[in-house]
């Protein structure tokens, strides 16, 4: 039960993009089309879940027993960078179509602050192994949901008559603000 609560909380109530502001760069950069936004969301969810597993193992199995907590940032970022590289290679070997669909977005994920943020939250909140996996999955689901909704709105927005000064990033940010307001409606859920 606890695990499901963590999943829902990470996905909807404390959405990574709309309430922690993690992963804003891809949220604004790759939300032009629904299809590419969805692929980006799926790729990010995958990396988030794997990162949750690996960073939990590294922190609680290696860094903590050897009293090396001060190395956590360096360790996490290196692990994430190599993990993204590894995921890219594995996908390339296993499934060419998937690789072609995600290809461009995969390297971008390294600089997504949601990934490092997830690792930091796991340490900060002292999650257990299983909890971490569900936290990663939930965060990924939330990210996919937010970026896909955003892409849907932006596709409609292209037909609207937006004032010159608001074109591009400003109107996207304001739409994101309204979306964040809408997601606040979920805050009484738990």
């Amino acid at each position: 039960m606890e695990v499901i609560l963590i999943f829902i909380s990470a996905a909807i109530i404390n959405n990574f993009v709309l309430s922690y502001f993690l992963g804003i760069c891809p949220f604004i950069g790759v939300s032009n089309k629904i299809s590419s936004a969805f692929s980006m969301g799926i790729a990010t969810t995958f990396v988030l879940t794997v990162t949750a597993i690996v960073s939990w193992l590294i922190y609680f199995m290696i860094l903590l027993p050897f009293k090396l907590e001060f190395l956590q940032y360096v360790a996490f970022i290196l692990v994430i960078a190599s993990l993204v590289q590894l995921v890219e290679m594995v996908i390339k070997k296993v499934s060419q179509p998937l690789y072609r669909a995600l290809g461009i977005f995969l390297p971008l994920i390294t600089t997504n602050c949601a990934i490092l943020g997830l690792a930091l939250f796991i340490v900060l909140r002292n999650y257990s192994f299983i909890e971490s996996i569900f936290f990663g999955l939930g965060a990924g689901t939330g990210f996919t949901m937010a970026i896909t909704i955003m892409a849907g709105i932006r596709e409609e927005l292209e037909l609207a008559n937006v004032p010159d000064a608001f074109k591009g990033a400003p109107i996207t940010l304001i739409v994101a603000g309204i979306l964040a307001l809408a997601f606040m409606g979920f805050s009484g859920l738990l």
């Binding site: 604004i28 600089t111 490092l116 603000g177 307001l181």
Partner: protein
Amino acid sequence: MIRISYWREFVKGILDQNPTFRQLLGTCPTLAVTVSAVNGIAMALATSFVLVFSSVIISMIRKLIPSQVRIASYIVIIASFVTIVDLVMKARFPELSKELGPYIPLIVVNCIILGRAEAFSSKNTIFRSFLDALGNGTGFLLALTLIGSIRELIGSGKIFNFGILPAEFNPWLVMILPAGAFITYGLLLASINQISIRKKRIKKEKMIEEIIGKKKESVLLSEVAS
């Protein structure tokens, strides 16, 4: 001549290429910590510290790093400085550190720092990189202070914890919530766009006037000649 170009290196990060308003870099901390002006300043100072020191170090060893592994080396250098900032803040300002939470360690993935490392300090001398980093840091500081002040003023009627608005003012809670951050940032960006659009239009009108003036002159000249 050299002095002027050094000055330009510093100033361009504040105005023309302001990381927040012009390049849209480092948006995560910009939105997340600007609940109050003080938080914004603390965040920007921490980021600037990391930016300046990592730029100088990267510029120092730019000829030693093989280009295949440069990004990884930059990240390790940046992460080391972030660790220093984090530990110092935890020891000296425990309350502020708690309030900023995971956003201090998240400086590691702040695109401003990696962006300056890749675009500038990996190609320029130490002093130039230092000035560039300082300029960008100052630009970031000004932007975060501005956003923080606006949100604090409307969200709680205060700036730097001094009451500014009268007590009858009913604070807009939404400005302190995440939605307020997005909307404030979007409106600020739009107003800056508006200013630059107007500037461009005035420039264009001036140019057209000049061309018309020249034409009139040449017409007059040709009339006189004939």
